[in-house]
C-alpha cells in the first residue's frame, strides 16, 4: 500500500543515484519495506510463483529461438535438432513446454483465489482487470507457441482456432485472411505466429509491472478481506516475512514443475504433435492443451442457432464472453464483504463454480457427442449464471457472518473462535 518511503541511502553512490533516478528507493519501498498483511496464506504465494514462471518462459524461450527455424518445411526438424543436438536443448524445450502448463496451473489457482477472497472489489478493480488482460495475453501467447513445432496438433489447432474468426459477421473472413497471411494456414501464418509469440511475453511483462503497481497502491487484500486499519499491528514488511514465505511456496511449486519436466515431460502433451504437420491428414480428434479445454467446451456447447446468430458464431461469442465477463465482475458482485470466509452462501455457490469449471475442462477433452453436449451446456449456463445472476443476487439477499474488527484481531483470535464471534461487529448488510 502507499506508505511514506523508508529508504535510507547509505553510500555516496546511492545518494547520488537517488537524487537522479530513485530506482533503488522504488525497489526498497516496493519489495523490502512494503507493508503486507500478516495473515496471507499460501494461496497468496502464487503471485510470486507466476513471476517465476514468466521469467522461466522468457529465458528458455529466448534460448530456444536461437535454434528454432520458423519455416513449415524446417520447424519440426529444428525442434528435433534442439532435442538431440543442442547442448541441454532437451532441457530448455521440456522446461518451456511444461512451463506453459505450470504457468496456467498457477494462474488458475491465482484467479480462483482472487474470486474466493473478493480481491477484485473496490479499490482493486483496476488490479483485477489488468490481471484479466494478462490472462488473455497468456492465452494468445500459449496458443501461438503451441503452433510453432508444426506437428499435427499444432497445425490443426491453428486451423480450428483461426477458422473461428470467420464466424464474425462482415469482417470475419478478412480477419482470418490476416491471421493466415494467405488463404490457408501456411508458412506466413507460422512466421507471424513466431513473431508474435516472441513479442507478446514482453507485453505481458509490461502489464505485469502495471499489475504490481496497481497492487501496491491499495496494498494486498487478505483472507479476511478486512482492510489494513493499523499498519503496525496488521502488517509486516514484505522482506523478510514474505520473501521467505513466497520462496518456500516457489520451491514447492518447482518440485512439481521438475517432476513433470524430468519424469513425464510429454504427459501433458499430445502424441500427435510428434507427427509432422500434414494438411492432407486430419487427426482422429483435435484437442487443445488442457488449459484451453474449459473454453473449448464452452465454444462447442452452443450447438443451436439463436435467431440470426448461427451456432458457430454463438459458440465464438460465448467463448469470448466467458473471458470478457471477468472485466465487469467488480460491478456484478455488489456484496460489500470481500472474503467468502464470511459469506457462507456465496462460498457454496463458489465451490459449485469451481466444479463447473473443472467439468468444462474435462468435457473439452471428450468428443462433443451424446450426453457430453448437454453436460457442457449445463456447466456453461452455470458459468455465466454465477457471474450474471448468483453473485448480483447474493449481494442483496445474503446475510454475511460478522467480520473481525481488524486483521490483527483475526490473527490473535484464530485459536479462540468464541472470542472472535463475541468481539466482532456485524458487517453492514446491503
Amino acid at each position: 500500500m502507499s506508505h511514506p518511503s523508508t529508504y535510507n541511502p547509505n553510500s555516496g553512490l546511492e545518494k547520488w543515484l537517488d537524487a537522479r533516478l530513485p530506482i533503488l528507493r522504488l525497489a526498497h519501498d516496493s519489495f523490502v519495506d512494503f507493508p503486507t498483511p500478516k495473515n496471507l496464506n499460501y494461496w497468496w504465494t502464487f503471485g510470486g510463483i507466476l513471476t517465476v514462471c514468466l521469467v522461466i518462459q522468457i529465458i528458455t524461450g529466448i534460448v530456444l529461438a536461437m535454434h528454432y527455424t520458423p519455416h513449415t518445411s524446417m520447424a519440426f526438424d529444428s525442434v528435433e535438432h534442439i532435442m538431440r543436438d543442442v547442448n541441454y536443448g532437451w532441457l530448455m524445450r521440456y522446461v518451456h513446454a511444461n512451463g506453459g502448463s505450470m504457468f496456467f496451473l498457477a494462474v488458475y489457482i491465482h484467479m480462483f483465489r482472487g474470486l474466493y477472497y473478493g480481491s477484485y472489489k473496490e479499490p482493486r478493480e483496476v488490479l483485477w482487470m489488468l490481471g484479466v488482460v494478462i490472462f488473455i495475453l497468456m492465452m494468445a501467447t500459449a496458443f501461438m507457441g503451441y503452433v510453432l513445432p508444426w506437428g499435427q496438433m499444432s497445425y490443426w489447432a491453428a486451423t480450428v482456432i483461426t477458422n473461428l474468426f470467420s464466424a464474425i459477421p462482415l469482417i470475419g473472413d478478412d480477419i482470418r485472411t490476416l491471421f493466415w497471411g494467405g488463404f490457408s494456414v501456411d508458412n506466413p501464418t507460422l512466421n507471424r505466429f513466431f513473431s508474435l509469440h516472441y513479442l507478446l511475453p514482453f507485453a505481458i511483462f509490461g502489464v505485469v509491472m502495471l499489475h504490481i503497481w496497481a497492487l501496491h497502491v491499495p496494498g494486498n487484500n487478505n483472507p479476511t478481506g478486512v482492510e489494513v486499519k493499523d499498519v503496525k499491528k496488521d502488517t509486516v514488511p514484505f522482506h523478510p516475512y514474505y520473501t521467505v514465505k513466497d520462496g518456500f511456496g516457489i520451491a514447492v511449486f518447482l518440485v512439481l514443475f521438475a517432476a513433470f519436466v524430468f519424469f513425464n515431460p510429454d504427459g501433458l502433451g499430445h502424441p500427435d504433435n510428434y507427427i509432422k504437420a500434414n494438411p492432407l491428414s486430419t487427426p482422429a480428434s483435435i484437442v487443445p492443451e488442457w488449459y484451453f479445454m474449459p473454453f473449448y467446451a464452452i465454444l462447442r456447447a452452443i450447438t443451436f442457432d439463436l435467431g440470426p446468430i448461427s451456432s458457430k458464431l454463438g459458440g465464438v461469442i460465448a467463448m469470448f464472453s466467458s473471458l470478457l465477463i471477468l472485466f465487469v465482475l467488480p460491478w456484478l458482485d455488489r456484496s460489500k464483504v470481500r472474503s467468502m470466509r464470511y459469506r457462507p452462501a456465496a462460498r457454496l455457490w463458489f465451490v459449485i463454480f469451481v466444479v463447473a469449471c473443472i467439468a468444462l475442462g474435462v468435457l473439452g477433452g471428450l468428443p462433443a457427442e451424446g450426453r457430453n453436449v448437454l453436460y457442457a451446456q449445463i456447466a456453461t449456463a452455470y458459468y455465466f449464471g454465477f457471474f450474471l445472476i448468483i453473485l448480483p443476487l447474493l449481494g442483496i439477499m445474503e446475510t454475511p457472518k460478522p467480520l473481525p474488527r481488524s486483521i490483527a484481531d483475526a490473527v490473535l483470535n484464530k485459536h479462540k473462535p468464541e472470542a472472535a464471534s463475541g468481539g466482532a461487529q456485524p458487517a453492514p448488510a446491503e
Binding site: E80, M83, V244, P271, V351, V355
Partner: protein, 305 residues
C-alpha cells in the same frame, strides 16, 4: 476448510487429466510389457539397443527411415555402440568416445545397406557415396512418391519418433509387431492389407456383405471385430535376424522387444541424461524446500506469540 481442499484436489486432477484421455477408436488395448527404460530410474539396456538396431537395419529399414538419426548418434554417450575407451590395437591419439571416431559406428556406416546422395561434385553431378559416421542414416526411398509407388500407395511412416507419436508408444509398437492375427470370419480383407487387432481402425468397412443390411448398417447380433487393417505385412518371423549372442532367443517377441528398445532410444536419445539430472534436481529442490520452510518458521516465530 472444505473449499480449499476441494479446489486443490480438483486442480491437481485437472492437471493430470489430459494424459488419461485416449483418442477414440476401436483397437485392442496394447499389451503391457516391462521395459528396461520404464520408471524414474529406468535406463536403456545396451545389449537390447544393439540387437534392436540390427533388427531395424535388417527388417524395418526395408521400408521405414529414421530420418532424425545420424550414424554418429549410435556412438554417442547413452547410444547403442558408445565406447568409453578404444579396443586394443588403436593408436593413443584416437578418441573412441568421439562418435565420429568410434570404429563400430564407422564400420556400420560404411557397410550400411543404402548409399547417401551427395553433391554436386566438381562436374555438377549428384553422386551416391558410402555413408560416413557424420551422415544422417539414409532411408529406403528418395521421396514420398516413390515410397507410395513401392507400397501399394501406403506411406511407411518414419520411425525416429514413433514411440512418442502414439499413445503408450512402446507398448503399442510392441503389441502391433507381435499382434498380427488371422482375420475373423466376419470380415473380408482385401489383398495387400493385413488385419491387426492393435491397429486403430474401423472394421465395419471390412464386414462381409451378408452381415450388413440394405442401408449398410451392421446386422443385429454381429460383433464388429476390434482393430484395423494396415498395409504392412507381418514383418517379423522367428529366425529372420541372426543374433551374434547365441543365448538370446531369435523369436518374434524378442525381436519386437529389442527393436522397440532401439526405437524408444531413437525417439529420445537424451532420456538417461534427463532422468539422472531429474533425480539430482529433485534432491536439490527438496533440500531447498526444507531449508526455506525452516527459515520461514524461524523468521515468523517472533510474530506468532
Amino acid at each position: 476448510m472444505i473449499a480449499r481442499t476441494t479446489i486443490f484436489a480438483a486442480l491437481a486432477s485437472l492437471a493430470g487429466m489430459t494424459a488419461a484421455i485416449a483418442s477414440a477408436g476401436s483397437a485392442k488395448e496394447a499389451e503391457h510389457h516391462h521395459w528396461h527404460f520404464a520408471g524414474p530410474f529406468g535406463t536403456f539396456d545396451k545389449d537390447a539397443l544393439q540387437r534392436g538396431y540390427q533388427v531395424y537395419e535388417t527388417v524395418c529399414a526395408s521400408c521405414h527411415g529414421v530420418e532424425q538419426l545420424s550414424f554418429r548418434n549410435l556412438g554417442q554417450k547413452g547410444g547403442p555402440f558408445y565406447l568409453n575407451t578404444c579396443p586394443a590395437g588403436f593408436a593413443d591419439n584416437v578418441d573412441c568416445s568421439n562418435p565420429n571416431e568410434n570404429p563400430i559406428v564407422k564400420a556400420l556406416a560404411a557397410q550400411y545397406r543404402y548409399q547417401v546422395l551427395d553433391g554436386p561434385d566438381d562436374s555438377g553431378d549428384m553422386v551416391e557415396r558410402t555413408p560416413l559416421a557424420s551422415d544422417r542414416i539414409p532411408g529406403p526411398y528418395p521421396n514420398e512418391v516413390i515410397a507410395r509407388l513401392a507400397n501399394n500407395n501406403a506411406l511407411p511412416p518414419d520411425l525416429s519418433l514413433i514411440t512418442k507419436a502414439r499413445h503408450h508408444g512402446p507398448d503399442y509398437v510392441y503389441s502391433l509387431l507381435i499382434g498380427y492375427a488371422d482375420a475373423p470370419a466376419t470380415v473380408e480383407i482385401t489383398p495387400g492389407q493385413y488385419y491387426n487387432p492393435y491397429f486403430h481402425g474401423d472394421m465395419t468397412q471390412a464386414l462381409k456383405p451378408e452381415f450388413l443390411d440394405a442401408e449398410g448398417h451392421v446386422v443385429d447380433g454381429v460383433v464388429v471385430p476390434v482393430g484395423g487393417v494396415l498395409a504392412m505385412a507381418p514383418p517379423l518371423v522367428d529366425g529372420i535376424v541372426d543374433y551374434a549372442d547365441e543365448a538370446t532367443p531369435e523369436t518374434v517377441e524378442q525381436y519386437a522387444a529389442d527393436v522397440v528398445e532401439f526405437l524408444t532410444w531413437a525417439s529420445e536419445p537424451k532420456m538417461e541424461a534427463r532422468k539422472s539430472m531429474g533425480v539430482m534436481s529433485l534432491i536439490y529442490l527438496v533440500i531447498l524446500c526444507i531449508i526455506l520452510y525452516w527459515s520461514y518458521r524461524r523468521v515468523w516465530a517472533g510474530l506468532k506469540k
